[in-house]
């Protein structure tokens, strides 16, 4: 029989202190690394806020509802920039969404392999091209093309005098404009939305399509009533992610939007031919002229607004994709 004293003598084999120490260090290091992500995001939000405090105190909410950006007067407000960001992104999505979804359907449902492979490669290639290169292409190829083959013919036609829609085509057809910004943004988000949508469409079980064909549906009925509804939320997520990119896009837009306030009292013009600003292009342009103090603080506040907007848009997209992914898995 073992006495209690004997039991205490027994060595239970456990991992050595050093080993446990190693795993603890391991967890701690990993935890630190992941905390750095938190730290970066929080510090981003905190520092942008503190650095723009002067401007926030000075202008309050008027910063986003008024229109004057005047370094001489010392008044700063960014409504036209916000408008420009939203308007150019809207034009971009208007062009990009139908083209991308059409191209994605083509790629996943229609194209034979010998077209699909190079097309997919092209799309991936174009998604990797940096924005400044798109801007270069925009300045020297897109602007002259739009000016000569789109803007001038429209300006010379009676279209600008038609009530309501004529307002979209007012102004001199010189090239740099809201239209060119929207088009270059569209070209930049098309590869992205196409690639994501194609992946979603290909993930749809084949049986869904076969069931529809078996019931006698045509190709379009199958696509429209079976394939697209199945993928709808995923596609919306892809479009919102594309929107997030368009909202924050800087270089290409800066290079083709003209960076001039349109000559209206509010600095807002719905005309596609008028130049404009987006939040990011204003940042890139006005940065060199900004003197320390209020002007710099106002610039940082633009970045803060942009940060908040894109975080909201991206969070929405991720949540949507997250919940729909669950949904699709549940249905499988």
């Amino acid at each position: 029989m073992l006495t209690e004293a004997d039991v205490e003598q027994i060595q239970v084999p456990t991992a050595g202190k050093f080993v446990r120490f190693g795993d603890r260090v391991y967890s701690a290091v990993l935890m630190l690394a992941s905390l750095s992500i938190f730290a970066i995001i929080l510090s981003l939000a905190w520092n942008l806020t503190t650095a723009s405090m002067e401007s926030i105190h000075h202008f309050g909410f008027g910063f986003v509802t008024h229109s004057d950006w005047d370094e001489v007067q010392g008044t700063y407000a960014i409504l036209p920039f916000i408008f420009g960001t939203l308007y150019s992104s809207f034009i971009a999505l208007l062009i990009a969404v139908p083209v991308s979804i059409g191209a994605a359907i083509f790629l996943s449902e229609l194209a034979p392999r010998w077209i699909r492979t190079p097309f997919t490669f092209l799309i991936e290639l174009l998604a990797a091209i940096p924005s400044v290169v798109y801007g270069l292409w925009g300045i020297f190829i897109l602007l002259p093309f739009l000016r000569d083959h789109f803007m001038k013919p429209i300006a010379n036609s009676p279209l600008p005098n038609v009530p309501v829609i004529g307002g979209l085509f007012h102004g001199a057809p010189i090239g740099p404009s809201m239209l060119s910004a929207g088009v270059i943004l569209a070209i930049m988000v098309i590869p992205f939305i196409t690639a994501v949508t194609r992946d979603i469409l290909r993930a749809i079980p084949k049986a869904q399509r076969e069931g529809s064909y078996g019931l006698g549906a045509t190709w379009w009925e199958t696509t429209n009533k079976v394939v697209l509804p199945y993928a709808r939320s995923g596609i919306i997520g892809a479009v919102i992610l594309g929107l997030g990119r368009a909202l924050g896009e800087t270089m290409a837009v800066t290079m083709v939007i003209g960076n001039n306030a349109p000559a209206t009292p509010t600095g807002i013009s719905w005309s596609l031919f008028d130049p404009g600003y987006t939040m990011s292009s204003a940042l890139a342009n006005k940065f060199n002229e900004a003197s320390p103090g209020l002007a710099t603080s106002a610039l940082v506040e633009i970045a803060l607004v942009l940060f908040v907007v894109t975080v909201i848009v991206n969070a929405l997209a991720r949540l949507l994709v997250f919940y729909t992914a669950k949904d699709v898995q549940g249905r499988k």
Partner: protein, 326 residues
Amino acid sequence: MTSTPAASPPPRRSLGEKSSAEAASLALRKITNTVMLILCYAAALLGIVVLGCVLWFLASQGLRFINLTLFTRMPDAVNMGQGGMAQSILGTMVLLALASVIGLPLGILGGIYQVEAKGRFASTVRFFTDVLNGVPSIVVGIFVYAVYVYPTAQSIQKSGGSGSAYSAYAGGVALGIMMIPTVMRTTEEILRLVPFSMREASLGLGATRWRTMVSVVLPAARGGIITGVMLALARIAGETAPLLFTILGNDLLQTHPVHIAGKTVGVPTLNAPIDALPLRIYNYATSVYKEQQEQAWAGALVLITMILVLSIAARFATRSKVLEEK
């Protein structure tokens, strides 16, 4: 996901007897079908024409203006367009190296954390990573400007000292921050592909968790991690917006002598303004001088080639054994 084509052509089938109303509706359905089919082809065609047009002009214009002096000389301040952009290419490499110093350890460790940890905190970290991935690059640039460049500039001004707050460090930090989410997500995805049985075997032999990760899981996933790193580098190599606020640009590559093993070597000065290829392209593209515009095209071709080489090399790196077995 299957690799077989999911496409099925519109079914052609013989139709039985039908009333005239049915025939009319069928005709309508067929017409709608054809119209939508044509629209779909048109969208794809439009997409491919526009995208092809982008690539065509980049390649043709770039090849027209590219020459050797681009790589060997720095900009000539007197004769516009006579020089090259050697300092920009070197500057981009310096910035990529600096960004890697920040982005790689944090990104890879973060990715490992995502695999090892479970629970609410891990998914919150993942969500934040996605958020960081979506933050526009220009905001990251302004962030570094507000945290580092602006205060430094103020203190330099106050002390009456010389020097510049714009520096390679600032640019490297901005790019490094942008690298973290990409590296983290790809690392996580690739680590999840490593068969769990390998990990269990190692743990079963008595190895600790960190030993299992370092000696078994990471080596198996090495190719994939390298791929992720290269893709992240390819992504930040072309970033311009954050550099506007952090590195300023420079017509020279500032170096300072360092004595290593009895030799004196010029090492790039990291706390001085530095140049980067995308920034140079931006400045030249918006320039009024024709020669500089031409150099911008050539520079763009060099930049795309760098990015392409990184992306293609990344694909080859993925072909490791583990992933092929999967």
